[in-house]
């Protein structure tokens, strides 16, 4: 048995490792290489040292984009996790317990399916649909619902609210998945614990904060990392939904969109690669920080 183990393992690994090496590692190396050039995307490649990074430092749009990514990085995980936790709690435990079984609120099975629906829609479709929801005149869904005497809200066309609109859509899309994730986590929490607590007279709120949240802590951490990474992306939504792609006046610009526009619209592949390198280190820093911070304080069931 033992002598056949390595060929077996190698057989499994060859294809994924090769794919990873070609399409991720090699592409990354090339991104690093190109970030030191003034390549336009066509023709000759000239090395210009760290000029791209200097330019980036002085680029207002870059700082705006970083700000927007941070805005998403902070708010997207917090809001999504809070909403998903509440929903998951209501679906699984919120109905109290009867006959020795904890149950969700009435109709929780239907809700569970409904909450998951947004996850099944392609992001591009979600973006187009919400483009109509946030329509700036009376043909927009929200404006259509407002009283007729109100001046239409511009939503995506208003620099103050454009980024919040994007955030709302990201949350709407993400919640369903995390409800399912947290539901699975809650399923693995022994009902005995809830029962014991309930016998001691704990309210639902106490159950939620004293039992559910601590026992789900490691699942929440996973959710945090996933959502943080989603916050570094947000490309598809911004590209399709926003006014003037990242506008108005850069009010919705994010790093991923900047990379795309510089590489394919502005013929500045070198500069785009420099942005890519920055995004690489930001994501890496975020992941490392999260792993470090969450290492010790997990409570095991």
């Amino acid at each position: 048995m033992r002598h056949g183990k390595y060929p077996f393992i190698i057989g499994f690994l060859v294809v994924p490792v090769a794919l990873y090496a070609i399409f991720v590692v090699a592409a990354y190396l090339q991104t690093f290489q190109l970030s030191l050039t003034s390549w336009s995307g066509l023709g000759k490649i000239e090395y210009i040292g760290f000029d791209n990074f200097v330019k980036l430092w002085h680029d207002d749009t870059f700082w705006k984009s970083i700000k927007h990514n941070l805005f998403l990085l902070i708010l997207l995980p917090i809001i999504t996790i809070v909403i998903a936790l509440v929903f998951a709690f209501l679906l699984n435990v919120g109905g109290g317990h009867k006959g020795g079984q904890t149950r969700g609120v009435w109709g929780s099975k239907v809700y569970r399916i409904i909450f998951f629906f947004p996850q099944l829609l392609a992001l591009a479709i979600v973006a187009v649909i919400f483009g109509r929801v946030f329509g700036p005149d009376k043909s927009g869904m929200l404006n259509g619902l407002f009283p007729a005497s109100w001046k239409p809200w511009l939503f995506l066309a208003d620099e103050r609210y454009a980024m919040a609109c994007i955030l709302i859509v990201l949350i709407w899309q993400a919640v369903g998945f995390y409800v399912v994730l947290f539901s699975a986590g809650m399923g693995s929490i022994s009902t005995d614990i809830y029962e014991a607590a309930a016998l001691d007279g704990a309210t639902r709120i106490t159950l939620f904060f004293r039992i559910t949240v601590p026992l789900l802590w490691s699942t929440i951490q996973v959710a945090w990392v996933y959502l943080g990474i989603a916050a570094f992306d947000a490309f598809a939504l911004v590209n399709i939904m926003s006014v003037d792609r990242g506008g108005p006046n850069g009010a919705t610009s994010v790093l991923s969109l900047m990379i795309y526009r510089n590489a394919f619209d502005f013929s500045q592949a070198g500069y785009a690669c420099a942005l890519g390198v920055v995004l690489f280190f930001l994501t890496l820093t975020f992941a490392a920080l999260t792993l470090r911070v969450t290492r010790r304080d997990s409570v095991e069931a």
Partner: protein, 477 residues
């Protein structure tokens, strides 16, 4: 105990995997540029034949020609049903390999970088390639010999002599022609001729007339003027700069193209921005800032918007949404001041829709010969009939009644006489500046009409481009 331990490992692996997902997003650029520098290879053996009166470009009459046409608003039928049959009527042995794409850069750019481009490419659409970068990289064939060759079907004239003024100039980069801009677009204010007749509104020629008419239109419950801020603000940039050119001649626009310091803060630009900013303050519907071009154009078709600045493709684009009582017509932008250097009839008409022969393809001469076929009167008329857009071939559709909008466009061209100007080229030369102008004009038109702010912002962006050594510069005179 073991179970708990296993669980912990699982979760940590999951975290790590999650981190890896995020890292996948970045290498996309590197990946798409695969085969970096491949395009610098010396060209493979290229087909050619002996030059003769019948074969002025010296093509190999048996070598195939590969063409790629953008499939967008113009469709591809003009290539498959008009141009290719015409080409094959003369060169029966040269096989045309046709393909179409909706994403030109996605399909063509990797092929150029791999040293294997098609022979003739239609660079158009929202995913068009930066043509300035292509020229700079030496990937576009010099078309000097094409324009000097005899016309396909106009005896005694060269190809150049059959074209409208400015057609070649627009595809010229640093003195050499590299692009054939085929369609000819008339820019102006589009309106519903029937609506104007019904209300006996007359077309304004001075700015005072224009604002007076706008007041009347507004009183009738119609938005006098509008454009789509979300994705078509460059229509407004063109309106503003056309007015600027009327005030201070085309030189004002040439200065902008040449990134001359102070070009954007010059008087003509400031006066035009001032005048249009007022229109924005008084007559535009502010919600248009968040709308797309199709939405505003639809509102015009429903007679909710009177004037819309656009090019002559508009009628064809809106064909299926235009109700029976709607008849597209176009007029020149009114004079801004009494001292305008160009007359009120002056218009901006430009060649557009780039076609080029790849310098490093297998058969560049064949690609050029295909372009020569397209520039024949016969092919040009076929194109106009199929796409309802004019071509750069002068007078190719004269005497033909194709559609009211096209007739109207032809009329303003005739009225303008010699006062037809090409406009500006910075939007294709410097995409970043183009981008800035869209944001700036939206601010001007929807947020207070501050002309000085518009000029200063554009001047700053223009000088930033001028100082950026990684951006290839072009000049015109």
């Amino acid at each position: 105990m073991t179970e708990i331990f296993a669980n912990e490992v699982d979760r940590r692996t999951l975290l790590r995997r999650a981190a890896a997902v995020g890292l996948m997003a970045t290498p996309a650029v590197g990946l798409l540029s695969a085969c970096v520098g491949g395009g610098d290879d010396t060209p493979a053996t290229q087909s050619s034949g002996a030059k003769s009166a019948d074969n002025p470009l010296g093509i190999d009459t048996k070598a195939g020609v590969e063409i790629v046409i953008f499939n967008g608003g113009l469709g591809t039928a003009y290539a498959t049903d008009v141009d290719t049959p015409l080409f094959n009527k003369k060169w029966a042995d040269a096989k045309i390999t046709f393909s179409q794409t909706e994403e030109v850069s996605t399909v063509i750019q990797p092929r150029i970088n791999a040293g294997n481009p098609p022979d003739m490419i239609n660079n158009s659409g929202s995913k068009l390639m930066d043509f300035g970068a292509i020229v700079k990289a030496g990937q576009a064939a010099d078309l000097t010999d094409l324009f000097a060759a005899p016309s396909w079907d106009v005896p005694g004239k060269t190809v150049a002599e059959t074209l409208v003024p400015g057609a070649i100039e627009q595809g010229t980069y640093d003195g050499k022609p590299f692009a054939m801009n085929y369609s000819y677009t008339v820019f102006g204010l589009w309106y519903n001729a029937k609506l104007f007749q019904k209300n006996s509104w007359t077309i304004p020629t001075t700015w005072a007339d224009f604002t007076a008419l706008c007041d009347k239109i507004k009183a009738a419950g119609i938005t006098p003027f509008g454009y789509a801020g979300a994705n078509a603000s460059y229509y407004m940039v063109r309106a503003l700069l056309t007015s600027a050119a009327k005030i201070g001649t085309e030189q004002a626009l040439k200065d902008i193209d040449n990134l001359k310091p102070g070009a954007w803060t010059a008087d003509p630009i400031k006066q035009a921005a001032q005048a249009w900013g007022e229109i924005g303050n008084k007559y535009i519907n502010k919600t248009f800032l968040g709308l797309r071009h199709t939405e505003v154009q639809l509102q015009q078709d429903q007679d909710k918007v009177a004037f819309y600045p656009c090019g002559s493709w508009l009628e064809n684009e809106q064909a299926k949404d235009t109700p029976a009582g709607f008849e597209y017509a176009v007029c020149a932008f009114p004079s801004v001041t009494a001292a305008d250097k160009l007359p009120a009839t002056a218009i901006n008409a430009a060649a557009g829709e780039i076609y080029f022969a790849a310098a490093k393809g297998k058969n560049p001469q064949g690609g050029k010969e295909y372009l020569r076929a397209m520039l024949s009167k016969e092919a040009a008329l076929g194109f106009t009939k199929l796409t309802k857009s004019l071509t750069v071939v002068a007078g190719a559709s004269d005497g033909q009644t194709i559609s009211p909008g096209l007739t109207s466009a032809n009329d303003v061209l005739t009225k303008a006489g010699q006062d037809v100007f090409v406009g500006y080229l910075f939007d294709t030369w410097y995409k970043k500046l183009d981008d800035e102008s869209r944001g700036a004009v939206n601010d001007l038109m929807f947020k207070g009409g501050d002309a000085q702010k518009f000029c200063d912002r554009m001047e700053k962006a223009s000088q930033a481009v001028a100082k950026d050594s990684s951006i290839t510069k072009f000049t015109r005179s």
